[in-house]
Amino acid sequence: MELKDKLISSYVAFENGVDINSDIHEIRSKALQNFEDLGFPTKKLEAWKYTSLNAVLKEDYSIFPKAETAIELADVKKYFIHDIDTYKIVFIDGKYSSFLSETTHDNMDICLLSSALTKPKYKAVIENYFNKIAKQDNLTSLNTAFANEGAYIYIPKNVEVEKPIQIINFTTGAENATMLQPRNLIVAERNSHVQIIERHQSLTDNAALTNSVTEIFVDTHANVDYYKIQNDNINASLVDNTFVEQQKEGICSVHTFSFGGNITRNNLNFYQKGEHIDSILKGITIIEGKQHVDHHTLVHHIEPNCESHQDYKGIYSDRSTGVFNGKVIVEKEAQKTNAYQQNNNVLISDKATINAKPQLEIFADDVKCSHGCTIGQLDDQALFYMQQRGIPKKEANALLMYAFANTVLESVKIPEVKKRITNIIADKLGVDIGFDL
């Protein structure tokens, strides 16, 4: 059976497990209808011109993993940022793992979407925010149709969350290929501050497909700092749909580190709904083999006096392919916008491919919008200079690449995350040097 048909027919089974008389369920049913009409994206769609999901969709995925699989902390500890104290929301095959998690209801809610969707206490927040900014496109609709579990983070006014929050989704799928559809809702009220680290990790050699949707609401003067670490194994594919809505003077930054996985597609959308907003979108991509990473960003400037900064660096080796499609829309009212977009790529193999499409759509006249996109190589002379001074070629190369990607790392605010990323980069580049010397 085609995956699309399988998903649609399994919806009935899904309904058994949820409250079908709720408003939420109406949203789900509508979204399913939408997905039924649209189907999976194909290369004919402009937004999917360079990324084909065909091979990934051929797998026979199990949609509802049977039982809860227990995993030992020792086995998965390395996937956590474990050297600092954090809140943790951990899911194993889409099911919440209370053993690995550390949640709280103390002055804020860091818990599960499934309980937020059903308990009356959360009704107001859910009604105000759930599925309000998620697009009606095919994969987001598919996620909405099956939306039930994920992280629910609600930070009230004037609260500064004292430690970062980690959201980790493990796939065990020992017997079958597994498809997961986590759904996260994050609301940061006025003047609050929160840091979040998100990771998807497959623990199996079987294929895994994750279609994740995250909605983030950043209220007036709130600050959300989000890190996505994508270093999954080679059989895992990820479609990450993130939607951010910012109110005036809100700051939100999303850093995406893509090092692993089969096909990784990041749809990152920012909507600026007030003045003096700052949006920061940054990413480092280092891939090899036949990996494919596709970054699709959208920054929608709706109100005046806002800023957006995008900086994406990519290093591609072997037969890997990279896509960057950045779109900045500046509405007529959004005067004095300052939008900046930078995308630099290095190809280190003849078989690697990069497709870049930095787009600007501007309807206001008093704006500063610029984008730069380069594709090139590392500087041979710099390499020679270092070799002359006794640095082996491999290390010299790695140093240059690290320097190339460093503009993104500079703005990482959690030192442990920075250290982790640095280690992953060193590992990717096959060197054993600490870059932060």
Binding site: N345, I354, N355, A356, P358, Q359, L360, V367, S370, G376
Partner: protein, 482 residues
Amino acid sequence: MSKYTEDDLREELKTKEYEYGFYTDIESDKFPNGVNEDIVRAISKKKNEPEWMTEWRLEAFRVWEKMEEPEWANVHYKKPNFQDISYYSAPKKKPKLNSLDEVDPEMLATFEKLGISLLEQKRLANVAIDIVMDSVSVATTFKETLAEKGIIFMPISEAIQEHPELVRKYIGSVVPTTDNFYAALNSAVFSDGSFCYIPKGVRCPMELSTYFRINESGTGQFERTLVVADKGSYVSYLEGCTAPQRDENQLHAAVVELIALDDAEIKYSTVQNWFPGDAEGKGGVFNFVTKRGLCETNAKISWTQVETGSAVTWKYPSCILKGNNSVGEFYSIAVTNNFQQADTGTKMIHLGKNTKSTIISKGISAGKSQNSYRGLVQIGSRAENARNFSQCDSLLMGNECGAHTFPYIETKNKSAQIEHEATTSKIGEDQLFYCNQRGIDTEKAIALIVNGFSKEVLNKLPMEFAVEAQKLLEISLEGSVG
């Protein structure tokens, strides 16, 4: 002295009438509206074409019938009814001319209004003009001078008769009949155009130039231009357009093919100023053009365009850099005003080693217009050391217009070096203030700034054309360009 502000300029832009909108009454020989195989055959017969040409057209027509009009461009318009257009219109009086004195005086008056007196040009400007008026060439000058060098420059319909081997070899080789909707239509029904062949090692001593004009109401203009520069030759080709004011939308779907063989160089410059529609966005020309050049080893093709007219422009002059060390260039100024929409840019396809391309695109939008740059830079996996530099700058005047950039960059080779940058800005108050302080009034200051903004492209135009380009910018952005 009253203060001249950007608002005044906008006001003036809105009210500025199309100066070159007039209509010459020349009896024409017109086909019934619509297109089908019989019409295609009839056009071919009218032109007295050989069998292979008729077949080629029919093939294109059959392909076209199956195609759909493209919708991906960032333009919105009421689609033309292709069965409501007359596909052939030729001025009835078509004498074979021996000298300019025999040209219809009425037609001469038309050109006079356009500011190109043939006599004057012949005497002073040293420019040979192959005048195309409603699809049929009427007069060709300097033919003898060119013939001495072995240069062939004639209407394509004559070239099909006189040099069938050359036309047959190259027509459709760069833009195949199946390329796109408009190119297929053009291939089926094109009525005339220009053909140019520069023999081996010849440097064309003058700028070749053609004037396109849409004259007869309700006729589409389907021009076909074919320029072949044989090994080691050089030619600079100019193309300029103006059209009379018309109420209903007119369709123009031209195809231009350039072939630069080894070590050859072609410089192709266009100034386009077709009727853009009035201040309410009524009328105007639809300009759907396919232009493409092929570069063999060490060859160079350079496109320069100044686009100020047309209600809707859909145009992407491209270079296929097939040979090693070949070079492609694209310099463009696109000005849109009122309700004009332009979706224009270029494609640089790097296939050979050490190929280079440069893209400089300047968009100026005013009124309620939409101006898009859409470009593709593609580096093939065997294109070692390919180099591209792209720069797209937009200047916005007023907050009702839009400027858009859609660059596609596809690279399959690690040695490629690609840079792309784009900026969007308006004329800064501080810039104006600086000029005012130094005694330059606001009008002159705006002129200065716009001129400076477009300078990189204007500089690339041949002298003869630069004057005209300046003139056209004046019409589009009256009072702002000195």
